[in-house]
Amino acid sequence: MNMSVDRTRDFGEYVPAPDDDIIICRCEEVTKGEIRRAVRDGMFNVHEVRRFLRCGMGLCQGQTCARLVRTLIARELGVPPGVLDEATGRAPARPTEMYVFANEKMEGI
């Protein structure tokens, strides 16, 4: 299912758009323009864009923007969003302080 995008295809240069300053990821304050430019710079999937710009890696963990980012990347590449894998699900599924995460209780309360 992990369909990949042909990296040899020429997607053209980044062309600024009037709404490029709209924030897409609020937690990390990543704009539409930054994501569009990242795709043109060769970040062709959700994982790469996340690592490059940190969108979806803030406090809400992509709860709001995951779908927006995926749709935006797909539109930029001219592919249906379904082609792009979603971000990998990892623990902790909810934002957690390190001191809590490290405090493993051997018995359930």
Binding site: M1, D19, I22, I23, I24, R26, K32, Q63, T64, C65, A66, R67, L68, P80, P81, G82, D85, E86, T88, G89, R90, A91, P92, A93, R94, T96, Y99, V100, F101, N103, E104, K105, M106, E107, G108, I109
Partner: protein, 526 residues
């Protein structure tokens, strides 16, 4: 590490139902939920649910939630609140945050019922305070008792947008408009009609161009979209608003399933788990139930939960043989009946233009949110009759039939299945008890007496706004579109326990307007 026969993640409608079903079969069951209170979205649903008796139709969602929670507690289900599940690992090991640490649990079966989160839409100004998901507004109103704003614009005409829109009116907000980029109302016509008759305008094929304001929303500009969803220049319209609610669908919260390694499929909008009919994922004894396995609504989520609960009980030998088969068959039949009609998941994206009996679906209802005054007579529930009788403005095939059982005289027939339209049996003799009016979850049944004496008529409407009008109070009768028709005096206000908080308000109008007047407003607010 504590072990349970079944661990359920999420104490919403699907999770609690799954836990109750499994516990009834004798399973030692734990439910983990990240919230302070159980029930998921159920306790926010202050409206009456659709469906049939077996689906708890005409009962308000919050009361269904209380009943379900009571059932789970009676059966010995352990519900852990403020306990977010952080991980789901191999061999059904579950990592839960509890207090200032994390605890590991193991389930012989695990049911993931984590629900969904709201989709967002971006436009200039979407990050301003005052822009929020419709579900968030609903939480503010119905859980935290905070009014989200004074004047709201609702984007999205699906059932969430329409139901929350109505609840905003109930909370005392005004609704500037319901806007949808699609060319037709997405939710139930009866929900749209409830809003339209209060005077809320619908703008289909429109979207938000921008929100105005510097530190909060002060206005919103919408515009008409062309076939490619681009705004047609020159069609912009501006509304005063301090709040914009976004109701553009939900996305399943599948993080735990993905983490566990369940096989996923793409439904066009996002990844969903590949599930068997009983909700079992590609990992044995890990099930997905409710919105996490695909967006539907609470009634079907509760049945999916029960089916997964029964399946888990069957897989571990708590129910066997015929008992298991008959329970599963019973639950599956109930779920199937909810998935019938023009709004069924299988019909999503299609344009229903005819009802099951070949009547055309009202184009006015789909494009403006209300039925035309003439076309309403085309439907079997709407008849002119002498004396007092119910008028059922039910025109779409929705799985719902509590009106039939509500009438003690048998005036209302629903021939065929649960999605068939109700018909009036004049011979049965309406006594004006009003039980059908209060039972209709869509508030689309009215009692009409065209000859109430002195050349006037009486129209009884369902009314769910406070303060209630008083007998003798004068106001204005409104049409289906919310237009002022004539001065109208309230001649009766009834609120019986059997009505479950839907008041029946009777207004007196000229006979010529008896089949047009469908709402009432105080003079001061017109």
């Amino acid at each position: 590490m504590t072990r349970y026969d079944l661990i359920v993640v999420g104490a919403g409608p699907a999770g609690l139902s799954a836990a109750a079903e499994a516990a009834a079969a004798g399973m030692r069951t734990a439910v983990f939920d990240e919230n302070l209170k159980p029930g998921g979205q159920l306790f926010k649903q202050i409206h009456k649910f659709f469906g049939s008796k077996e689906h708890k139709a005409k009962i308000r969602g919050m009361n269904i939630g209380a009943e379900l929670l009571g059932e789970a507690e009676r059966l010995g289900v352990e519900v852990f609140l403020s306990s977010p599940v952080m991980g789901l690992y191999k061999d059904r090991e579950v990592l839960v945050r509890q207090g200032d640490g994390v605890c590991r649990y193991k389930g012989d079966a695990v049911i993931v019922a984590t629900g969904a989160s709201e989709n967002m839409l971006t436009f200039p100004g979407w990050t301003l305070p005052g822009v929020m998901g419709a579900g968030a507004a609903q939480t503010m109103m119905n859980v935290n008792r905070v009014r989200p704003g004074d004047r709201v614009l609702m984007l999205g005409s699906g059932n969430v947008g329409l139901v929350v829109g109505f609840q905003l009116l109930q909370a005392g907000c005004s609704l500037a408009a319901v806007v949808d980029a699609a060319p037709r109302v997405g939710g139930y016509g009866v929900h749209a009609a409830k809003l339209a008759r209060t005077g809320v305008p619908f703008y289909l094929s429109h979207t938000i161009v921008r929100a105005e304001g510097t530190d909060r929303v002060t206005g919103v500009v919408i515009g008409e979209v062309d076939g490619k969803w681009n705004v047609i220049s020159g069609t912009e319209k501006r509304f005063e608003a301090d709040t914009i609610c976004i109701a553009v669908g939900l996305s399943s919260s599948t993080q735990l399933l993905k983490m566990a390694g369940c096989e996923m499929r793409d439904d066009g909008a996002g990844r969903l788990p590949v599930c068997a009919d009983d909700g079992e994922t590609s990992i044995p004894r890990v099930y997905a139930a409710g919105d996490v396995s695909g967006i539907e609504e609470a009634s079907s989520a509760m049945l999916e939960g029960r089916i997964s609960g029964a399946a888990a009980a069957g897989a571990l030998g708590f129910i066997t043989g015929d008992a298991l088969l008959s329970r599963k068959a019973e639950l599956e039949a109930a779920l199937e009946s909810l998935r019938e009609g023009m709004f069924a998941p299988k019909n999503r994206g299609k344009l229903p233009d005819k009802t099951d009996v070949g009547l055309p679906v009202s184009a006015s209802l789909l494009s403006r949110g209300y039925l035309g005054d003439a076309e309403v007579f085309e439907y079997p529930g709407v008849k002119r009759a002498s004396g007092l009788h119910p008028v059922m403005e039910c025109t779409q095939n929705i799985p719902c039939d509590p009106c039939r059982d509500a009438c003690p005289k048998g005036c209302i027939k629903v021939r065929g299945g649960i999605v068939s339209l109700p018909e009036l049996d004049e011979a049965a003799g309406c006594v004006g008890c009003g039980l059908c009016v209060a039972a209709c979850s869509g508030q689309s049944i009215f009692l009409v007496n065209e000859n109430a004496g002195d050349g006037g008529a009486e129209v009884t409407i369902p009314y769910e706004f406070l303060p209630l009008p008083e007998k003798g109070e004068r106001g204005v009768a409104l049409s289906r579109s919310g237009a002022a028709l004539c001065p109208a005096e309230i001649t009766d206000v009834k609120l019986l326990p059997a009505y479950d908080k839907t008041a029946l308000v009777t207004l007196r109008v000229p006979t010529a307007l008896a089949m047009k007047a469908r709402f009432w407003k105080r003079e001061a607010s017109v």
